[in-house]
């Protein structure tokens, strides 16, 4: 079978990867923002959403982006200028780092790390620092409350996120994201090979906990207390205007895209489709499309929750994390571990 093999120098590869990552995040944010935030939400609420800019309003977010760039860059008088200015960048950098290890095909990955999953979960929590900086640096009471809420929430939900992923790691026996995909591709479905074995079948509880924790990590309803427009008027984002606000927006939707990608790698079989040889180089071509479809499916779930549920209160959120999600995740780990040893 003919395999796809292109040899490139190291600097060429690096340049390509940099361009791809720099393009992917705004594109991902645009796609999610348009498809879900604008269209799906509008249809759920029996309205049309944007229809004027471009066919069916597809260019609305580009128009919004241009509008954001034109706006004045406002600093509050009492703000801690450097912290205030740096905060959106920190949030966006944490989003960028998430894409580094996200595998779109056997070789279509920026950097395949042995501890890829560990890396993802570690850099995901970097955004907390940016959010705290934004909350503190704005010198605004609402922003401060939002920052504090975000810190408490993100730390509480980091734990179920990690614990839910551990079930998959036990089953696959590796932390490398690409090897996790391969383990699912080569797995047997009730002794029937060639179909692959997505871990959602055995790790359904883990998948559910992972999605809930991701929802909280993204600070989306029902866990959107850090921004909570009706309570603290946007929380840590309240003083940001123009392109700094755009950074937060891109960070939020870029992270949503990345986490949906990680969820599809861990639980839905990543870039693999049943019926093809996982070793085939063709997956470098069709892998990104397969991943894209899976990511959109997971994102649809995430955003569906977002538009349906009311917001929890801060104490109820912590109770949910510590009393429900973490014990369930631990139970999942125990059961997975015992079965792994026995079977």
């Amino acid at each position: 079978m003919w395999t796809l093999a292109i040899e490139l120098a190291y600097w060429q590869q690096t340049a390509i990867k940099l361009v791809v990552v720099a393009l992917v995040i705004p594109t991902a944010a645009l796609i999610l923002g348009y498809v879900f935030l604008m269209k799906m939400m509008s249809f759920m609420q029996s309205r049309l959403g944007p229809m004027e800019a471009g066919p069916y309003g597809t260019l609305q977010l580009l128009a919004d982006g241009v509008k954001f760039l034109q706006k004045e860059d406002v600093f509050p008088r009492r703000a801690d200028r450097y912290v205030f200015a740096l905060a959106p960048v920190v949030v966006l950098v944490s989003t960028f780092l998430l894409y580094v290890v996200l595998p779109m095909g056997p070789d279509a990955v920026v950097s395949s790390l042995d501890a890829g999953l560990f890396f993802v979960l570690a850099v995901a929590s970097l955004s907390v620092i940016g959010v705290l900086m934004a909350g503190w640096g704005s010198a605004n009471k609402y922003a401060l409350m939002g920052g504090m809420r975000a810190a408490g929430q993100l730390i509480a939900y980091e734990l179920p996120l990690v614990l839910a992923a551990i079930g998959v790691v036990i089953q696959a026996g590796t932390l490398d994201l690409n090897k996790i995909v391969l383990a699912q591709a080569n797995g047997e479905l009730f002794g029937w090979g060639g179909m692959g074995f997505p871990y959602i079948l055995t790790q359904f509880l883990g998948f559910a906990i992972f999605l809930v924790a991701v929802q909280a990590e993204l600070t989306q309803p029902p866990f959107d207390m850090p921004v909570a427009e009706s309570e603290i008027v946007g929380g840590y984002q309240v003083e940001y205007t123009g392109f700094r606000f755009l950074f937060f927006f891109m960070g939020e939707f870029g992270t949503a895209f990345a986490f949906a990608g990680i969820a599809s790698v861990l639980f839905l079989g990543g870039w693999y489709v049943p019926g093809l040889d996982p070793a085939s180089g063709w997956f470098n071509l069709i892998g990104p499309f397969v991943m894209f479809i899976k990511i959109m499916a997971v994102s649809a779930l995430i955003f569906w929750f977002r538009f349906t549920f009311p917001r929890l209160r801060e104490d109820q959120l912590q109770k949910l994390a510590w009393k429900v999600l973490i014990p369930l995740a631990l139970l999942n780990i125990v059961v997975t571990g015992v079965l792994k040893v026995l079977v």
């Binding site: 609420q45 029996s46 309803p221 207390m225 538009f307 917001r311 209160r313 109820q316």
Partner: protein
């Protein structure tokens, strides 16, 4: 030094150390101005909240940012002109604002309204209740973070507004009520259309019962939050659904219909014993549904005849005083009209429901969390124009 003395000294030293630590750890409170520009106050209400972390130690509402002086303005206008002003008090259910004032003027003039006018008046009164409370039912979701219900509310409220517009010509400010009756009769085909709208409104209520009230997060956020016992509710002068949600069975429509035809209808006053935010939402939802049934009954029993009594072209109200209160969408609304026999009233005192309803906030907002402040404000349901007039 005896042992007991040493123990005593150790105890004193430990207590002093504790006290020092406590002073060091004691955090300063924070004063948070919620409003006047805040999305949850849907207007310009300001709440000064003294916070300890996320907990509210004391909250005080500040009103008056939207005071427009309607009571004083009414003194320099003729009676027919006053209705254009008072339309704008509770801008979501405008027609209901006109009715008590007109009733008071009619009482002074001793005018008998033709039966058909009284029935249509009551129909429009209930339609404005639907237009008003439907928005509350969706808006509560927005305040709690659920974006979708409010769009359903705006969508279905539009049908009711269309019906009001078809009769009166005005969607928000009908200015349709006249001393002695109504400006016009119903347009052709209106009765059948309204029946369809009532069915739609009931479907809307069912939808929200599923989407919002049946949601576990909604229950967790509203149950036991902002509990107002019956005696507190009465002593603060709460009225309307806020009072009935505290278990007080009191409704001006049944207890004192004065000129409206509620006593000829078959309907029920809904109460809830809990007095919390959930109860207030529940009572309003039931009342919306009840209102649709009432409108259907009135459409069935609508008598024929004129819609205007014989009144002089230039209206002069004889000297005297009258107070008429009706059960408006937000609660009891009353007008105390003093006439000296002129073209316009000598003095008008307006008793609006939201002013009293919001005055309970300092009592009910002690020790709650910041998100609960929003829940309580949303569930008490005020209109800024109704607070400040």
């Amino acid at each position: 030094m005896s042992v007991t003395e040493r123990e005593q000294r150790a105890f004193i030293a430990a207590a002093a150390a504790d006290a020092r630590v406590n002073v060091e750890l004691e955090t300063e409170g924070m004063t948070l101005n919620i409003g006047p520009q805040h999305p949850a106050t849907h207007g310009t209400l300001r709440i000064i909240a003294r916070l300890d972390g996320e907990q509210v130690v004391a909250a005080e509402p500040v009103m008056g940012y939207m005071h427009r002086g309607y009571e004083k303005l009414a003194e320099v206008r003729t009676y027919p002109q006053v209705t254009t002003l008072i339309n704008r008090i509770d801008w979501l259910g405008s027609f209901a604002n006109e009715v008590p004032f007109i009733l008071a003027a009619e009482q002074l003039m001793e005018v008998e309204v033709p039966p058909r006018a009284a029935w249509i008046r009551t129909i429009l009164f209930e339609l404005s209740r639907l237009a008003n409370i439907a928005l509350f039912l969706g808006d509560m979701g927005v305040q709690l973070g659920a974006l979708t219900p409010v769009f359903f509310a705006f969508r279905d409220r539009e049908f009711v507004l269309n019906q009001i517009e078809a009769v009166t010509g005005g969607r928000f400010h009908p200015n349709f009520d006249r001393i002695g009756g109504l400006k016009d009769d119903l347009p052709k085909g209106w009765i059948e259309e309204t029946r369809g709208v009532m069915v739609k409104m009931r479907t809307f209520c069912d939808e929200l019962e599923d989407l919002l009230m049946g949601n576990e997060i909604f229950e967790a956020r509203t149950r036991g939050v902002g509990v107002i016992p019956a005696d507190i509710a009465l002593s603060y002068g709460l009225s309307g659904a806020n009072l009935r949600a505290s278990g007080v069975d009191w409704d001006m429509r049944r207890d004192n219909p004065c000129g409206l035809v509620y006593d000829q209808l078959d309907w029920k006053v809904w109460t809830h014993p809990d007095g919390d935010s959930f109860a207030r939402y529940w009572v309003r939802l039931q009342e919306t549904r009840e209102a649709t049934y009432m409108v259907e009954q009135m459409l069935d029993g609508l008598p024929a005849g004129p819609v205007m009594a014989k009144v002089p072209v230039i209206i002069k109200v004889p000297a005297g005083e009258a107070y008429v209160a009706t059960e408006n969408p937000l609660g009891v609304m009353g007008y105390y009209v003093v006439s000296k026999g002129d073209l316009g009233p000598f003095r008008v005192k307006i008793r609006s429901a939201s002013f009293n309803n919001i005055s309970v906030t300092p009592w009910v907002m002690r020790g709650v969390y910041v998100p609960d402040v929003i829940t309580i404000l949303a569930s008490l349901y005020f209109i800024l124009g109704d607070i400040d007039r």
